[in-house]
Amino acid sequence: MEVSRIDINVHQLTRVEGHGNIIVKVSDGKVEEVRWEITESPRFFEVMLQGRRWKDVHVIASRICGICSVSHQLASLEATEAAFGIRPSEQTILLRKLLYVGEVIESHILHLYLLAAPDFLGAGSVFSLLDSPEHKDEVLRGLRLKKLGNDIMEMIGGRAVHPQAATVNGFGRLPSTEDLLYLQGRLRNALPELEAMVQLFKGFELPQFTRETEYIALKHPQEYAWIYGYISSTDTGLATLDQYLEVANEYCVPHSTAKFAKHARESYAVGALARINNNYEQLNPMAKMAADELGLKPLCCNPFMNNIAQVVETVHVVEEGIDLVEQLLRIGIQEEDIVVPVKAGRGIGAVEAPRGLLIHDYTYDENGYIVEANCVIPTNQNHANIQRDLEVLVPRYLDRGENELRLLCEMLVRSYDPCISCSTHMLRLELR
């Protein structure tokens, strides 16, 4: 089909977290404009953190994002602990990892079933899928898995959104042995549900679109990195956390309240696909089988496969959760004294939020008040990559016509699972 004129203006893309627009203009068969535009109201979190006392910092940091509040809390706690020279106990680290398992399950399932799946099932939302006899059971399965993630966060963290129990150098409330045994049962019972999830997504037809780019994720020598590690790039290898400003080069873009970022190339990607591209070998056995089944192997440069990478990671973290509960039962939960030696200094915390690399960098004064704060948000790092993907995708699928092209553009952006409301409060103007 010869398409001479296309005018796509997706104002406030739906089924993503936050506000962004997609603009595509084609005239006389020539692509004149392709733009990924961020219109979220700026939120200025770094300014809000300034002058805050260490005790309240992770409580405020959590509010950057309702969907990955645990990620922000843990990055924040790690930054504060690094600044004060604190090394948390094994129990604290295991509990944090288990809390994180809950968040990854909840966040990935929210995206896979509620935000992405409607595109593949020809629906506008999960609500209409619930009304459809054909798909209702699949959606209910997704909701059960989502609830598993939330229940883990409630049990370990106190609640699902902005949990309260995690604090600097410990937990304000500890789970009981009964809690852990209950979670063990819940996690094991989820295994057959995961198999059904893999089959559902195996049935979805993803566009065969690839564009080579750089993938950045945390990497840890002993484990699939979630809350500790070095910065790893598929282009340039390992970097230490204090080199993060050289990796995430942020810059302002006209008409975007979020900043964009670049490293070795004109753009890079973070998130589930970036993690699997960097850390595939460390996936748990069932997750590797799921990856095989779904045809996901590194180096995969199809951005739509980020959906599949999330499916594989969901399997991975359920396996990890079972293992973490076993370890916690083995060491036995103990009450611990939470000691926090406050001192002046700078600390960097880095985690893999469900949507990718997240860094908090704080400088404290000697009384434990924040002098300067900087946060690098996953979706900011993806904006430039989304823009470049769209620039290549649009001319390649021009012959599909306006409606199909619009849907493809929307699906591409959704594949990144963008969290735009997080991404609109970047600080750091002078790039060091």
């Binding site: 739906t14 089924r15 994002c65 699902a160 006209p254 103007l429």
Partner: protein, 246 residues
């Protein structure tokens, strides 16, 4: 006829919308009882003909003021949800700094191109019919309010302080542990979840009607905290001062 529901997001973390989606077990019943017609975070379908508008987030730009006025014209009921919408919440920290400094700190020379005004709660911009407080909102409370509206009743909002519920749950008082807490002056209805969860009450549900704020200050002073600490304790979710929008 099922009431037509719209959920709108303003400046926020979208955690309160997520709490609606976290009603996993209740979702089939919610979908059966309500006609959810606009909910951008999870729906492509949308319509401007709604009866009840739930609003997540605070108002922080000129364009958001215009959007709120339009929603007010269309909706029979406007219900802000969460601390950002009800109190201004954490967004109001930026009000403590001059706006041009805030913009410059984040966007540098590009600062003049960005639309931002001091953050304010929804009721500072348009009249509201009810509100569901909390950071985040409590799922069970959201469902109860929906049930009350469906039954044609005026929704109920607790006016006992968090302290009362905290005692019923059997928590050790955080003041006895040498910590401070906004429980004595904060609206209950959360089952003192933060104290139960091992933390303190940060006052996310806002103050009860006619709170004895001074008594709380005395306790804080007795606990040996500075005025700076007290101001901070109160400002975590309640930093918004009325002179910002009046």
């Amino acid at each position: 006829m099922k009431p037509k529901i719209a959920v709108f997001d303003f400046t926020c973390c979208e955690g309160c919308q997520l709490q609606i989606l976290n009603c996993e077990q209740e979702m089939p019943d919610l979908v059966a009882a309500l006609d959810i017609i606009t909910f951008r975070e999870v729906m492509t379908e949308r319509s401007d003909h709604y009866d009840i508008a739930f609003i997540d987030g605070s108002c922080t730009t000129e364009s958001e003021i215009a959007r709120l006025k339009e929603i007010r014209q269309r909706a029979k009921m406007v219900i802000p949800i969460g601390a950002c919408a009800c109190l201004g919440g954490v967004n109001c920290f930026k009000n403590l700094h001059p706006m041009e400094d805030v913009l410059k700190a984040v966007y540098g020379q590009a600062a003049p191109y960005y639309d931002t005004i001091p953050a304010r709660p929804i009721h500072a911009v348009i009249p509201i019919d009810f509100f569901i407080p909390g950071c985040p909102i409590v799922k069970e409370e959201f469902i109860r309010v929906v049930q009350e509206i469906l039954a044609g009743k005026a929704p109920y909002l607790p006016n006992d302080p968090v302290c009362a519920e905290c005692k019923m749950v059997g928590n050790v008082c955080v003041f006895d542990k040498g910590q401070t807490c906004l429980g004595p002056v904060t609206r209950g209805g959360c089952k003192a979840t933060c104290v139960t969860g091992g933390a303190v009450c940060w006052g996310c549900r806002g103050l009860i009607d006619e709170p004895n704020i001074n008594a709380e200050k005395e306790i804080l002073e007795k606990a040996g905290l500075s005025i700076k600490d007290i101001v901070e304790e109160f400002s975590l979710f309640n930093a918004c001062q009325e002179d910002v929008w009046k």
